[in-house]
């Protein structure tokens, strides 16, 4: 179903087919780290800067318990408990509730290991904990959205339509109605024009004008459609 590759390229790829050996010491070192991670040790390196699902759950649980303890303490101390927020289990991070749909194809990531949980930042006091955590989750989501659209924007600037459309598609998959939806649509129109798909670009542009009649991206979008 696919044409054979150029023989010169096949020769190049032949050279890459052989898997280089790794030193036994390195293999054992990483295996030890995997064992530690799986067993709940601390050998694992922190692999994710954001709060993952289990981290969020751990944080929520600690917050809940601390909240309960504080509530009891305040109750016994005669402090006005009305002024203390009830402990609320935090919503899971976006990574938990909405796994990146851009890679639906790939194996579902099991929950992070306890080594990662062990590295979760300590929970602050109950009353103050919730707001920053929510802000952090929102910031992480927005950062991710921004990252994807940064790639798309740079690719449009370099007239690399394939990369731009991939980034736009990924954003659409992960954040169908994300905060940066407006900009995504604008970038998509520009990328569609780059690959010469004017009909789709114009359909999208009409929708864009309808949805965002006062958008700051209107002029860029219009310029992209100008022959």
């Amino acid at each position: 179903m696919t044409a054979p590759l150029d023989p010169r390229l096949v020769r190049l790829l032949d050279a890459e087919r052989e898997v280089p050996k790794e030193s036994p010491a390195r293999i054992e070192r990483v295996l030890d780290r995997v064992r530690s991670s799986v067993a709940g040790g601390t050998g694992g390196a922190p692999l994710s800067p954001g709060l993952s699902g289990r981290q969020a759950t751990a944080l929520a649980t600690v917050t809940f318990l601390l909240g309960g303890a504080l509530g009891l303490w305040f109750g016994r101390s005669g402090v006005d408990t009305e002024r203390v927020s009830s402990p609320v289990v935090l919503p899971a991070s976006p990574a938990t509730t909405a796994p990146p749909a851009a890679q639906p194809s790939l194996p579902v990531q099991p929950e992070p290991t306890s080594s990662v949980v062990a590295r979760a930042r300590p929970a602050p006091a109950t009353v103050a904990a919730r707001e920053p955590t929510e802000q952090l989750a929102a910031a992480t989501t927005l950062d991710r959205e921004r990252q994807l659209l940064d790639v798309a924007r740079a690719a449009v600037r370099e007239r690399n339509a394939n990369v731009a459309l991939d980034a736009v598609d990924r954003h659409a998959h992960e954040f169908p109605s994300g905060l940066l939806f407006e900009e995504r649509l604008s970038l998509e129109i520009q990328a569609l024009m780059l690959i010469g798909d004017r009909p789709t670009a114009e359909t999208r542009a009409a929708r864009f004008r309808e949805l965002f009649p006062r958008s700051i991206f209107l002029s860029t979008t219009a310029a992209a459609l100008t022959p």
């Binding site: 790829l13 890459e16 087919r17 740079a154 394939n162």
Partner: protein, 176 residues
């Protein structure tokens, strides 16, 4: 009985780890993970693999199964990296392609392949590596990556064109 089953699973897991760590590491390099980050990302891969090891169908080849985990981890890795870092990855790969004037033909070929791969977007690159380097059939790729076979062919087609173009560019940039 349950403990024996767990021990047995762990023994099999460690056996797979020892035999396939080099393959996973090399796959991660091909997928754009920097050398300094390989161990961390490989650890992430195998922790995931361990979590799913009970679901592994031993009648099927293990590498395509592991490769799917590697793709996911590489994707996460790239998502964590900033665009700047991504660019430096490419720059690094391009540098790799143009170093070592007295290296063997084979080593040179590997460097060119590795550099050219960095020019292919990750989803397409994964399909390209699985098919063109690992020799996995489109059906098996579709199964392991949970995508339609038609998508495999589409990605492969585009990846081949990108790879060809990248190799030409790298060969042109080669210092004379």
């Amino acid at each position: 009985m349950a403990t024996e089953a767990i021990v047995g699973t762990d023994t099999r897991f460690e056996s797979v780890f020892r035999s396939e760590f080099p393959y996973v590491s090399q796959s991660l390099r091909r997928l754009g993970v920097r050398e300094g980050d390989i161990d961390d990302v490989a650890q992430e891969v195998f922790v995931s693999v361990h979590g799913k090891f009970g679901h592994y169908d031993a009648r099927r080849p293990v590498r395509p199964w592991l490769f799917a985990f590697a793709v996911r981890a590489a994707s996460n890795y790239r998502n964590r990296a900033s665009v700047r870092r991504e660019e430096s990855l490419k720059a690094g790969a391009h540098e790799m392609s143009s170093t070592g004037s007295d290296e063997s033909d084979k080593a040179h070929a590997r460097r060119v392949v590795m550099a050219a791969l960095q020019d292919i977007e990750l989803d397409r690159r994964a399909v390209f590596i699985a098919h063109e380097i690992d020799g996995v059939s489109p059906d098996e790729i579709a199964r392991q990556l949970s995508i339609a076979v038609g998508t495999v062919y589409t990605r492969l087609h585009r990846a081949r064109a990108e790879f060809t173009k990248a190799v030409e560019r790298i060969e042109q940039e080669k210092p004379s």
